[in-house]
């Protein structure tokens, strides 16, 4: 594999100034992963997915029962990359301005000044997003989609990178506002942490009896590096056979479900695959990257005809059926 990478690099020729070498990014991913692993026990898959979501310019939706470490995951990642982190606890009475910020009249200066909301951060944890009313939800979702917020007619850009990690409470459905289907589509990935297995859990307990490890977690990189790594990911090669495979997969879901994967879903699929390829030290996407990310990228975008089946089974079936070449 190292050989491949060196060849890849040497044959790539001139690189855009901002992007990092693929190997560096891969090493960085490993580093961040290990760092996060000091706090989060297990959940390697999900950690990778979150890291690649950040690199792939996407947002992640974690759906889980409370208390499995969603917030801890987001915090440890943002600490690792030394970025600004904010957390919004969504409640039924949360207003859009509570998320985006508000113009406040400064008596001294006799003018309005903008007091930015929690959304102005590199990593925003939207906790229990489905508890907030739709209007508030949509304020966050607009920020996710546009990379900017508009308050009182003034549009303000959000910092780069900007990644939302939203959590959704899977229990108490009667006290939630379920995310509209169109808005779920804006999350690159929908992930499940799930409960740790017994070994992992006892390991976790051992770590947390004294000081919580999050307190002592050190950054392993900085924002600039992350921006450059995102450039590397964006430059990863997606050749025609790969693109066609992604298209075939999407086509399959459209044929075999009530609502299939949208074009936005296909874009997300490709970007997630790019991020995964780079995290594996590869400057180009192979079908396996697509296959690996497809379940988490596509499943939540599919509405099945049959209640007994869910999006995951459709994606699973697609991966088993659709020809790779």
């Amino acid at each position: 594999m190292p050989n491949t990478n060196s060849t890849a690099r040497s044959e790539r020729g001139q690189q855009p100034p901002e992007s990092l070498p693929v190997d560096t990014v891969a090493a960085l991913c490993t580093e961040i992963h290990e760092n996060v692993g000091r706090v989060i026990v297990g959940h390697d898959e999900v950690i990778s997915h979150v890291i690649t979501t950040i690199l792939g310019r996407g947002h992640a939706l974690l759906e889980d029962v409370p208390g499995v470490g969603k917030t801890m995951l987001a915090r440890s990642i943002s600490t690792s990359i030394d970025c600004e982190f904010s957390r919004v606890q969504f409640t039924p009475d949360l207003l859009p301005a509570d998320v985006t910020g508000v113009n406040v009249f400064n008596q001294k200066r006799r003018e309005f000044e903008f007091r930015s909301g929690p959304v102005f951060a590199n990593i925003v944890l939207g906790d229990e997003i489905n508890r907030a009313p739709p209007k508030t939800q949509s304020a966050l979702l607009e920020a996710m989609e546009e990379g900017q917020v508009t308050v009182d007619g003034t549009t303000r850009r959000l910092p780069t990178p900007f990644t939302v990690i939203a959590t959704q409470n899977a229990i108490e459905p009667d006290r939630t506002y379920e995310l509209p289907f169109a808005e779920v589509d804006r999350f690159m990935k929908k992930l499940h942490l799930g409960y740790p297995d017994p070994d992992e859990e006892s390991d976790m307990l051992e770590r947390t009896v004294g000081h919580h490890p999050i307190e002592s977690l050190e950054p392993v990189t900085d924002l600039e590096t992350i921006v450059r790594a995102r450039e590397t990911v964006a430059n990863a090669t997606v050749e025609k056979p790969t693109r066609e495979y992604a298209t075939r997969l999407a086509g399959y879901t459209r044929e075999h479900a009530h609502i299939g994967v949208s074009p936005r879903g296909t874009i997300s699929l490709t970007r997630a695959a790019q991020a995964r390829a780079v995290s594996q030290g590869r400057g180009y996407v192979v079908p396996d990257d697509i296959k690996r990310v497809a379940p988490v990228v596509l499943s939540h975008r599919i509405r099945t005809r049959d209640r007994d089946r869910d999006g995951e089974s459709v994606v699973e079936r697609a991966l088993e059926t659709v020809p790779v070449e």
């Binding site: 491949t4 060849t7 890849a8 044959e11 090669t237 050749e239 056979p241 790969t242 400057g283 180009y284 996407v285 192979v286 079908p287 396996d288 296959k291 991966l319 088993e320 059926t321 659709v322 020809p323 790779v324 070449e325």
Partner: protein
């Protein structure tokens, strides 16, 4: 594995849409072919000879139209009844035409039944006097019923009546191999496509049919291509003797074929004690099919005395001692009675010829009293044309329906100056003798032999001469028949004659009112005898046994002409009187070397044609042509089978895969080469383990294999190169070449893949 079956399933889905309509059309086509096959046999073999082709085709078409119209208006039971009525009606029509009253027929039902059996054991339909009528009665039933059932989509049942009709014609020996084959294939196609239509099969399944058809063709033809099976095939053709003259004449009890080149057999057949030289008649034929002669009518047991000629005749007593086995009973023309101590029974044809009921053995002997009709030419000239009804209405004036007008025109010009039947016969006889050469080495023409001989050929042998003359006479409305037998033979004593195989001959009998059948011989006598003498001499020099009797060795040969010929008449007489002299002189000439060898050459004055050769010749010529046809057909069908089989089994792609496995081919772009190298690798892996599933990526595939076996690191290297070429879009020349080399290595090592690893993980 799954990928392949999925692909197949997909393709079946695709062409399932091709539709039942085309299958139905094909099934109907199959029934049509089957119907056409037996109608064609009847047309080709029967009505084109005896006339009525138009009627036959009209009947067949009318039956089909009726079946189409009635297909949805009457019920199957009614249709079967209608077909039965048609069949019975046709049979009754035939009986009435044959002059048999229905009551008689019913009373003699056992005879009718036995007749049917006889027919089915190889008697040509043409042997029936009213063959044409029989064909008319035969056709409507099966045609109607099979087409009716086919229209109602009962394909299997529809093949039954058609199949029986064809089978019957096969058993009578009338259906030739290609037609039978075609009809059979038609029937099978009808059933097969009918099933496909009913069950909703797909075109993809037709390759099995192709294999089956090809197998049938190849098998059926190859059976007849086996040495010794030349005459085989579906027709129980009479097998000729072992390439001897008698083969043609004696070989077949009811027909005499016209063949190609023939050889002479010098073996002695019998010794005759008779006062005068005479032609030895063994067979009389009346119906000409265009390429052969058939004797119509039935045989009746000999019961003491035969009908004598209507006019004056002299009796001639002959004693025949057989020297070999023989299937005929040679007698001088118009036998009246026969006596024998050794031959228990004989039967008589409708034409007055004696036949043994079983093969005569070497020591058999019999005495025959014959009525020799030898009137003066003057008497024959005045005989007139007042033929008795049984002659006038018989087959003696039959010409094949297809006889060309040019033949009749040519005949008319030859007999332009002749007024009476006798003069016509003489004119034709002398014309043939003078205008055509004698040769045993002729290729049998296709089509009507008489026509071709008169109009196109320059030479032939007795069979050709006699056939042409008989047909020419008939064209002039003179009743004539084709007669086979032997020439007089070699005279070894005052009243003793040795007759050999090469004396076999064919000639003509012409009927004259108040006189009866008079012999004519259009074959130039001198040439024939020369050929015979040469053959005997050759045989003697080569020391062949059985070509001489004690007497014939010792006694100088003196040939005489038979008196039977209407020699006395001018042209004949002229020829005949010259004949003996020529013969004698030739004989003598040829004898001299023979004498020095201590043997004599026989000279047969009368007829030393070789007719037996016909059969042989036919066999040879037929074998040659049929071999080429069969070889061609076998080759073609084998090709079809191979192609279809390859398609079915995927051998073709396997072969090309294998070729690519070991040979990369010409280099192209690095990326293309890398991809090709990887494809070869996949084939290698597929053969060692399992094929990659379509939905499986390269990595998944290798990983899955890796679970069970340790893959060679080179495999991974090649697949990486492939990924670079395919998914990164660029790969270096060196990298691609390396991949090719690696795959070459792996192919040569035939994937030992480190360790034993014979464990294939089939599908998981």
């Amino acid at each position: 594995m799954s990928s392949r079956s999925e692909r197949r399933a997909a393709s079946i889905d695709l062409d399932g849409a091709v539709g039942q309509r085309s299958f139905r059309a094909l099934a109907l086509g199959g029934v049509g072919v089957l119907t056409a096959s037996y109608v064609r046999v009847l047309h080709q073999e029967v009505t084109s000879v005896v006339g009525g082709s138009q009627t036959l085709l009209a009947l067949a078409v009318a039956s089909m139209v009726a079946a189409t119209v009635l297909a949805y208006t009457i019920r199957p039971r009614t249709a079967a009844l209608a077909a039965l009525v048609a069949a019975v009606g046709g049979f009754a029509y035939y009986l009435s035409a044959a002059g048999i009253e229905l009551g008689v027929a019913i009373a003699a039902w056992d005879r009718l039944l036995s007749d049917a059996f006889t027919l089915a054991t190889g008697l040509s339909i043409l042997r029936m006097v009213e063959a044409g009528t029989w064909a008319f009665g035969f056709v409507p039933g099966p045609v109607f019923l099979s087409w009716y059932l086919a229209m109602r989509k009962r394909y299997v049942w529809s093949v039954v009546p058609g199949g029986f009709a064809l089978l019957f014609l096969v058993l009578t020996g009338n259906a030739a191999i290609p037609v039978t084959l075609l009809g059979t294939l038609g029937g099978i196609a009808a059933v097969a496509f009918g099933e496909l239509a009913r069950r909703g099969g797909s075109i993809a399944q037709a390759d099995i049919l192709a294999i089956a058809f090809a197998l049938m063709i190849a098998l059926s033809l190859s059976v007849t291509a086996v040495p010794g099976g030349e005459n085989g095939g579906p027709a129980f053709r009479d097998v000729g003797g072992p390439s001897t003259l008698e083969g043609a004449i004696d070989g077949s009890p009811s027909q005499s074929d016209i063949g190609g080149p023939v050889d002479l057999s010098p073996e002695v057949r019998f010794t005759a004690t008779v006062d005068e030289p005479t032609y030895w008649r063994t067979g009389v034929y009346d119906r000409f099919t265009g390429d052969g002669w058939i004797r119509t009518g039935s045989m009746s047991p000999y019961d003491g005395r035969l009908e004598s000629p209507p006019g004056e005749y002299e009796t001639l007593v002959q004693e025949i001692d057989l020297e070999t086995e023989i299937q005929t009973m040679p007698t001088a023309a118009q036998p009246l009675s026969v006596e024998s101590d050794t031959v228990s029974a004989a039967e008589v044809s409708d034409h007055g010829q004696l036949h043994p009921t079983e093969t005569l053995l070497e020591q058999d002997s019999y005495a025959v009293e014959s009525a020799v009709v030898d009137p003066e030419p003057a008497a024959l000239r005045t005989a007139g044309t007042d033929y008795p009804a049984e002659i006038r209405d018989s087959e003696y004036r039959q010409l094949p329906e297809s006889t060309a007008a040019a033949f009749e025109a040519e005949t008319a010009s030859i007999v332009a100056d002749a007024d009476t039947p006798y003069e016509k016969a003489s004119a034709i006889e002398s014309h043939l003798r003078s205008s055509k050469g004698y040769s045993l080495d002729v290729e049998k023409p296709s089509g009507n032999v008489a026509e071709k001989f008169l109009l196109e050929m320059d030479e032939g042998y007795c069979v050709y001469f006699a056939t042409a003359m008989t047909q020419m006479l008939r064209a002039e409305d003179v009743p004539a028949r084709y007669v086979t037998g032997y020439g007089a033979g070699q005279q070894v004593d005052d009243d003793e004659w040795v007759v050999r195989g090469l004396d076999s001959h064919a000639w003509v009998e012409v009927y004259f009112p108040d006189h009866g059948w008079v012999t004519f011989d259009p074959t130039p006598p001198g040439d024939r005898q020369g050929a015979n003498a040469d053959a005997i001499q050759d045989a003697r020099e080569s020391g062949q046994s059985g070509i001489d009797t004690d007497q014939s060795e010792d006694v100088p040969i003196e040939d005489e002409e038979p008196d039977d010929d209407p020699d006395s008449t001018e042209p004949d007489t002229g020829n005949e009187s010259e004949q003996p002299k020529e013969n004698t002189s030739e004989t003598n000439e040829s004898e001299q070397p023979n004498e020095s060898n201590g043997s004599q050459s026989p000279s047969t004055p009368g007829g030393v044609g070789e007719e037996n050769t016909d059969t042989n010749a036919e066999n040879e010529g037929g074998l040659l042509s049929s071999l080429s046809f069969e070889t061609l057909a076998i080759g073609l069908s084998a090709l079809v089978a191979v192609v279809a089989g390859a398609h079915r089994s995927g051998v073709g792609s396997y072969v090309s895969q294998t070729a690519h496995l070991y040979w990369h081919g010409s280099r192209k772009t690095p990326a293309a080469d890398a991809v090709r190298a990887y494809r070869r690798l996949e084939v290698l892996l597929e053969r060692s383990y399992r094929p990659r599933r379509e939905s499986e990526s390269t990595r998944e595939y290798l990983a899955a294999l890796e679970e069970d076996v340790d893959l060679d690191p080179r495999v991974e290297r090649v697949s990486e190169t492939y990924e670079l070429a395919t998914y990164r879009g660029t790969v270096s020349r060196e990298r691609a070449d390396e991949a090719i080399d690696l795959v070459d290595e792996l192919a040569r090592e035939r994937l030992p893949m480190v360790g034993d690893s014979g464990t294939t993980s089939d599908d998981h």
